[in-house]
């Protein structure tokens, strides 16, 4: 078997003959001779990891993931299991997209650059802001980046970042790490029946506050009625107004630019990704004023040598590989491929589909709240607000006990505190919601 491949990496193509020829060309006797590692730090143990055939490796992962229970997830709070059209998978899985690198050679990367340019453009339309980057990691890290942006561009001299008291704990914690190297401190503002308490915020806003953060919808599914008021307050106090949202909500709810938002962050992978254990796509859009302080990558239009339109990464002098410790962020690898998926998903829906989806998220949440409210021992929604996708219900008895019992019936919901459940309709079929109401009525009986 003259041309046999050596054992070892299944993805290294070398035959024995080729390896020998290459070693000969280099002028050494063995691969070992190419390693210049002092003896004391050489590793001669093993990792204890078995090699497997492709089939065996696949079976191993299958056998592990089969341990995950097959539940209908009525979970929300930032991650949603919308149905993803097959086309999104088939197009984004094309190997040229999937296996390409960051577009540092734009002449051979026009396709991906254009897709990212289109992604940016969709977010510009959704937010009404002039600039969107082509991704951060997720909503939490985008919030952190917004805070460091506020720190850089502060119009006031203060140090406070003001966030809702109901802010998701993980987001709050991530923000804490992002501001740990700055002088910023994170403080919270009160909520009034599930919405920002505008009066108390008005009292709090002064020159010490560099950034005000609000979410629409909030983490409890309520639609914020007071965004314009917050925007006005922020303008008056020269505070950066940062709004958290996502592409589905933005298709229906107030346009951030219209309420005075300076930055919009959020998780754009509500379109494009299934629930993926928290994997996300950080949305980051801002006003043109802050263009040169934006973190992350930007794709711009330019011309090529034939004066035809062409796309390229631009304003790279903001970035770490050029500006090093004076960069606007340390981000390098981001979530480009997820952005591609999100753009394709949004495009398959089109504007009609997006508005329909968000509209259904409002009406179906309302209908489900009414149905569970009709059950004895359940009150929903807890907040006298409009909701999108999800709402909080209060229950007689232990919320966590009910949630566990619901799992046994095949449904996953959030238990909040002692006596609240949060329930989400996004991505669920009508049959699944019917089944859930039945299961809940049985569990609380």
């Amino acid at each position: 078997m003259d041309g046999s491949r050596t054992t070892g990496s299944p993805y290294a193509p070398h035959t024995d003959t080729e390896t020998a020829a290459m070693l000969d060309a280099v002028g050494v006797d063995s691969e070992e001779a190419l390693f210049d590692i002092p003896e004391p730090v050489q590793f001669d143990g093993d990792f204890g990891i078995d090699a497997r055939s492709e089939r065996e490796a696949r079976q191993l992962v299958e056998s592990i993931l089969e341990r995950n229970d097959d539940l209908v997830e009525l979970l929300g709070r930032g991650h949603y299991g919308y149905y993803i059209p097959s086309l999104v998978d088939h197009l984004s899985d094309r190997s040229e997209f999937l296996t390409s690198y960051t577009q540092y050679q734009p002449e051979v990367s026009q396709g991906f650059l254009q897709a990212l340019f289109e992604y940016q453009s969709m977010l510009v339309e959704l937010t009404g802001l002039e600039v969107a980057n082509c991704s951060m990691y997720d909503a939490a890290t985008a919030l952190g980046e917004a805070a460091t942006l506020a720190d850089r561009v502060r119009g006031v001299s203060g140090s406070v970042v003001l966030v809702p008291e109901i802010l998701d704990e993980n987001k709050r914690s991530t923000l804490g790490n992002y501001v740990a190297g700055t002088d910023l401190v994170v403080e919270t503002y009160a909520m009034d029946d599930g919405a920002a308490d505008v009066d108390s915020i008005a009292d709090r806003l002064d020159e010490d506050v560099v950034m005000l953060y609000a979410e629409n919808p909030t983490v409890r599914g309520t639609i914020e009625p007071g965004l314009s008021a917050l925007g006005d307050l922020a303008t008056e106090s020269d505070t950066l107004f940062v709004l958290g949202s996502d592409p589905v909500a933005l298709s229906l709810l107030e346009r951030p630019a219209d309420v005075g938002a300076d930055v919009v962050i959020g998780d754009a992978s509500v379109l494009g990704l299934p629930t993926a254990y928290g994997m996300g796509l950080g949305l980051f859009a801002t006003r043109e004023d802050y263009l040169r302080q934006v973190p992350g990558r930007l794709v711009g239009a330019s011309e090529d040598g034939d004066d035809r339109r062409a796309y390229t990464l631009t304003l790279q002098t903001r970035e770490q590989h050029i500006r090093r410790e004076r960069a606007t962020s340390n981000i390098c690898t981001n979530q480009a491929w997820v952005a591609l998926r999100t753009a394709i998903h949004a495009a398959t829906l089109g504007p009609d589909g997006l508005v329909d989806l968000a509209t259904r998220d409002v009406t179906r949440a309302r209908e489900l709240a009414d149905r569970v409210d009709a059950l004895p021992g359940v009150t929903a929604p807890v907040h006298d607000r409009h909701h999108v996708r999800e709402f909080v219900a209060s229950v007689d008895g232990s919320a966590s006990g009910i949630a566990t019992d619901l799992e046994d019936h095949g449904y996953a919901v959030h238990a909040l505190g002692a006596d609240e459940l949060q329930i989400c309709v996004a991505g669920a079929t009508d049959d699944e919601l019917d089944g859930f109401v039945d299961a809940l009525s049985e569990v609380i009986r």
Binding site: V26, F35, D36, P38, Q42, F47, I49, D50, A51, R52, A57, L60, V61, E62, S63, R67, N68, L75, L87, H90, L91, R94, S95, F97, L98, S100, Q110, F112, M122, N170, K171, A180, G181, I223, S251, L252, A276, Y277, L298, A301, S302, D304, A310, T312, T314, Q316, R324, E325, N330, T333, Q335, A336, V338, A346, P351, V355, V362, T363, H386, A412
Partner: protein
């Protein structure tokens, strides 16, 4: 051929009907204007865009430090399994599969890096660096040494090292190389002090050279109470031959794309797990995963590094999340890029000890063979998985553009600056001898060409040379901006 923007194909303006949602008008936007195209039209659009994108399935991609290797498609299949689609807020009892995979991956990585504990949360290499810096800060703070405010970074380091240290609030102390391209021990001695929080290092370094004095470097850093951080960018050179933990590193990140062949996706998603020695484990981000039957106080799972590796099936053990004792908290909304971690696990499980060691052997062999075949000078040796050639009198960026005309992707250019007109080249283990010969031929053809030729390149690509300057001077970052012109 030019593919129009989606917005040039269609622009549909939908008036938002607040009544339909049962909402008051003032809670909704007025309208939404986006392209409204059919599946068939979108299918063609993105198919054409893909064909205008160079991927690793298009040809060799020898970007130094970027490590572009073949991405086995079976890892896509397992990441697409229905069982992988779980919500981050699911109960632990209902996602034992996810937790098992993460736990076993923590163990794989700990063993590969010679570390005691691993967090999988950082969603990219730079995020891993940030965790490392934050963990170092928390550790020093915990020990009453919060005054340490300097991080030392070699001049030739990746830009993220500098930016990360700055994001962490540290002053960056830049460290020059010695004449051989390695850490200058005298300069290091001068840089180290009681203000030193950490030294960030890659090994092999950016020139592909192994830092032979690594033991002494570690001792020097530790002597002043600093920590030694390993940037995993070049780990693909050392698998099974040396481990950062054995060299004296205290913290490291792994670039799963570079070392474990997860696809780069045109810029991400990646993952940047971080491994630490046991002293630092209590400070790792929350949550991590442990065997519910063998929890440990500090969160150091010696079990995860020693666990057996059942070949065909799940372990069946029970797993749980836990917060390390002095955790720095979250650095991501949840557990990072889960689907990328599934691919990482699958790749490591496929290769095993033997495959991983061979990957490094062939990566080093390929770099050395390619280096031996090109006419450009390579000032620093002996290199491992990558080399930095000099374009000499030519402009390295022009050389790269001209290489595109020969149908191959060029190397990384003009970095590290220690080599003039740098051509930083890393073929990885996946290229065959014949592909390396093709690459060498492209290098050598360009080396013979005159400046006018290479300055006019590329001419055989989808787009000709693109004007970067005007793109930055007049930013047009959306189709709206184009429409406004």
């Amino acid at each position: 051929t030019y593919e129009p923007l989606l917005s040039e194909k269609d622009s549909t303006k939908v008036t938002v009907d607040a009544d339909a949602a049962g909402l008051p008008d003032d809670l909704t936007r007025d309208s939404l204007e986006l392209p409204g195209l059919s599946e068939s039209e979108l299918s063609r659009h993105y198919t054409r865009l893909s064909q205008q994108t160079y991927g690793i399935t298009s040809g060799p991609y020898p970007l130094g430090s970027c490590t572009m290797k073949y991405n086995p498609p079976f890892t896509e299949d397992v990441a697409a399994l229905p069982g992988a689609a779980v919500h981050p807020d699911r109960s632990e009892a209902s996602i034992q599969g996810t937790l098992e995979l993460l736990f076993r991956l923590q163990g794989y990585l700990a063993r590969i890096g010679g570390m005691d504990a691993v967090t999988l949360q950082p969603p990219a290499g730079a995020a891993g660096e940030f965790v490392g810096i934050r963990v170092a800060a928390a550790y020093h703070e915990h020990n009453g040494e919060g005054h340490r405010d300097e991080v030392i970074v070699p001049e030739s380091a990746h830009g993220t090292n500098f930016a990360t240290a700055a994001l962490g609030g540290y002053d960056v102390v830049s460290l020059p190389s010695d004449e051989h391209g390695r850490v200058d021990l005298d300069a290091l001695e001068a840089a180290l002090s009681e203000s030193t929080a950490a030294l960030m290092l890659t090994n092999p370094n950016t020139l592909g050279l192994f830092e032979r004095d690594i033991e002494e470097i570690a001792a020097m850093v530790h002597d002043v109470g600093g920590l030694l951080y390993y940037d995993g960018a070049n780990l693909n050179a050392l698998l099974g031959r040396a481990r950062p933990g054995d060299m004296g590193f205290d913290v490291m990140h792994y670039n799963v794309h570079k070392t474990f062949a997860t696809p780069h996706g045109g810029g991400g998603p990646g993952a940047g797990p971080v491994g630490v020695v046991s002293e630092l484990a209590p400070f790792l981000p929350a949550p991590r995963v442990r065997d519910a039957d063998e929890p440990t106080d500090a969160g150091v799972e010696t079990t995860e590094a020693d666990a057996p590796d059942p070949t065909a099936d799940s372990t069946g053990a029970a797993y749980e999340l836990f917060d390390p004792e002095h955790t720095i908290g979250h650095v991501h909304g949840f557990q990072g890029n889960w689907l990328v971690l599934v691919k990482t696990f699958a790749y490591i499980a496929r290769l095993g000890d033997e495959g991983l060691a061979d990957a490094s052997a062939k990566a080093v062999l390929n770099a050395n063979y390619l280096g031996s075949q090109i006419d450009y000078e390579i000032p620093y040796e002996p290199f491992h998985h990558e080399f930095v050639a000099s374009a000499g009198e030519q402009d390295a960026a022009d050389v790269a553009k001209r290489m595109l005309d020969y149908g191959v992707h060029p190397p990384t250019t003009k970095w590290p600056e220690i080599v003039s007109q740098a051509l930083m080249t890393e073929p990885t283990e996946v290229e065959s001898k014949s592909t390396l010969d093709q690459l060498a031929a492209a290098f050598d053809a360009v080396a013979e060409e005159d400046d006018a030729t290479i300055e006019a390149a590329p001419s055989r690509t989808t787009a000709k040379r693109i004007d970067q300057t005007s793109a930055a001077r007049t930013p047009r970052l959306s189709w709206q901006a184009l429409d406004d012109e």
